[in-house]
């Protein structure tokens, strides 16, 4: 090596300077760096191990720590600040038409079975729609119907009432009010609106309801 004799001519840089070097190399390196590699990259006579020890101390309690990874070293953000490395963005989406209709049927007809929902909507209700409403905690399972097959029923939740600003499902406006509010075409109605059931399912145990799922 041509530099070998030359190097001995120079004193090793002061420790503070060595610390700066290690700091810069570790910062810029894409991978953790070993002591041997630091040695090879720093001027002759440097003591990277000592510089690392000083540097480690310097970063104690800071937002960034000097950590040992195997036999190499790297900077890492302090573990307690990990939450800063997340960026939360909330995206609000409109419920699908199927979901909102299903929800409306549950709200107006509860407790209601899936078959009944399908009868009212006139189309099949997908598993995903029900799951989504359950996940949103807007509907939950109610009592099983005491009919053959003992089908599960769905009812709306407290969370649903909260979200829609209702004291109870009975506060849902009737069709007459909907029409008065201009939400319905002004046409004669085939049959009167069905009143929500008064059944109280607040204490329905849910464990048994899941048995047949």
């Amino acid at each position: 090596m041509t530099g070998a004799t030359e190097r001995t001519l120079f004193e090793a840089p002061p420790m503070g300077e060595q610390e700066r070097m290690v700091e810069a190399i570790l910062f810029a390196s894409a991978d953790p760096v070993t002591v041997a590699e630091l040695q090879s990259r720093m001027p002759h006579g440097c003591d990277p191990a000592e510089a690392l020890a000083y540097l480690r101390k310097r970063y104690e309690g800071r937002g960034v720590h000097l950590v040992r990874v195997g036999d190499a070293y790297a900077f890492r953000t302090a573990a307690d600040l990990g939450y800063l490395m997340q960026k939360e963005s909330t995206e609000v989406r409109k419920l699908s038409r199927a979901a909102i209709e299903t929800l409306a049927i549950v709200a107006y007809h509860q407790p209601v079975t899936r078959t009944e929902i399908e009868e009212i909507r006139g189309v099949a209700v997908s598993r995903g729609t029900i799951d989504q409403l359950l996940e949103l905690d807007w509907i939950r399972l109610g009592r099983r119907r005491m009919t053959p097959g003992r089908p599960v029923t769905f009812v709306v939740t407290e969370h649903f009432l909260d979200h829609f600003g209702l004291e109870s499902a009975r506060d849902l406006p009737g069709l007459k009010e909907l029409r008065a509010a201009g939400l319905l075409d002004n046409r004669p109605l085939p049959g009167s609106m069905q009143k929500p059931d008064d059944e109280d399912e607040a204490n329905t145990g849910q464990s048994e309801l899941f048995e047949d799922e």
Binding site: A28, T77, T90, E101, A104, L175, L189, P190
Partner: protein, 261 residues
């Protein structure tokens, strides 16, 4: 700035001629670049440059290039023509009444252009000499990517809910793709109806009196129900259940239950 044009030149004219032969025109980035290079041979600050001398240098260059049959791009020739014009203007006293820009102004502008180009070249050199990211200064080698948590929430308002419910409950009246049969009374319906009604028709009665309530309100409904009921009583007559009569053409059609039926 450009005074350190390294090589000593004994005879500027010779030197220039040699230069012009060596330098390929393509090596210049346009006439202005060529002028800037030529101006350096004047070994003065660009502010003190002699534009007249520069014009002569340029025209000489162009002449030699032509002698050597070097193709010159049009903009070099345009510049040559302009410089020839400028040269004559600088040498001759201004014509009285000439209200165009003076030769001095034009020369000053050319000097300004050269100075500005030179300044930009120096600025570019200084810029490139700066410590550059990825060459002299470095960014974080192990960036810890920010994890973006996208939370999707679904929303619906009470209005949405009510609209949805209203939509379902009024679906029976709302059949956009089905022909509107609201105003059509079928013969089957009329037959069913008449079968129930003829028991009360012991005496002659107008067919119109059998029309269902609400079906004489509009012409369309009246026509549809009249036709259906007329067809129905014909059927009933054929079956021998009613007797029909009509006094004259377009007179009311009357019916009564056939006795003994």
């Amino acid at each position: 700035m450009t005074d350190d044009w390294s090589e000593p030149v004994a005879n500027p004219a010779e030197r220039l001629a040699a230069e012009a032969l060596i330098v390929d025109v393509d090596g210049f980035e346009g006439p202005l670049d060529l002028l800037l290079t030529l101006s350096r041979t004047q070994k003065v600050d660009l502010r003190r440059i002699s534009v007249l001398q520069l014009a002569e240098q340029y025209l000489g260059f162009v002449t030699r290039a032509r002698a050597l049959r070097i193709e010159l791009a049009a903009d070099y020739l345009v510049m040559a023509a302009w410089l020839a014009f400028l040269k004559s203007r600088l040498l001759l006293p201004p014509e009285p009444g000439d209200d165009g820009p003076s030769a001095e102004e034009l020369a000053a502008h050319l000097a300004f252009q050269l100075e500005r180009l030179e300044a930009m070249r120096e600025a570019a050199a200084r810029l490139m000499a700066r410590d550059q990211l990825g060459r002299d200064i470095f960014a974080r080698g192990i960036p810890e990517d920010v994890t973006r948590n996208r939370i999707i929430t679904y929303d619906a308002s009470l209005i949405d809910l009510m609209r949805a419910y209203a939509r379902i409950r009024t679906r029976d009246e709302f059949r956009p793709f089905v022909m509107d049969r609201d105003h059509v009374f079928t013969m089957e319906q009329a037959l069913d109806r008449m079968r129930g009604l003829i028991g009360y028709a012991g005496d002659w009665a107008d067919l119109t009196s059998f029309l269902p309530e609400g079906w004489d309100a509009t012409p369309m409904r009246r026509r549809s129900s009249t036709a259906a009921h007329f067809a129905a009583i014909l059927e009933l007559a054929k079956q021998g259940q009613v007797v029909l009569r009509q006094g004259e053409t377009f007179a009311p059609i009357q019916l009564r239950r056939r006795d003994g039926a």
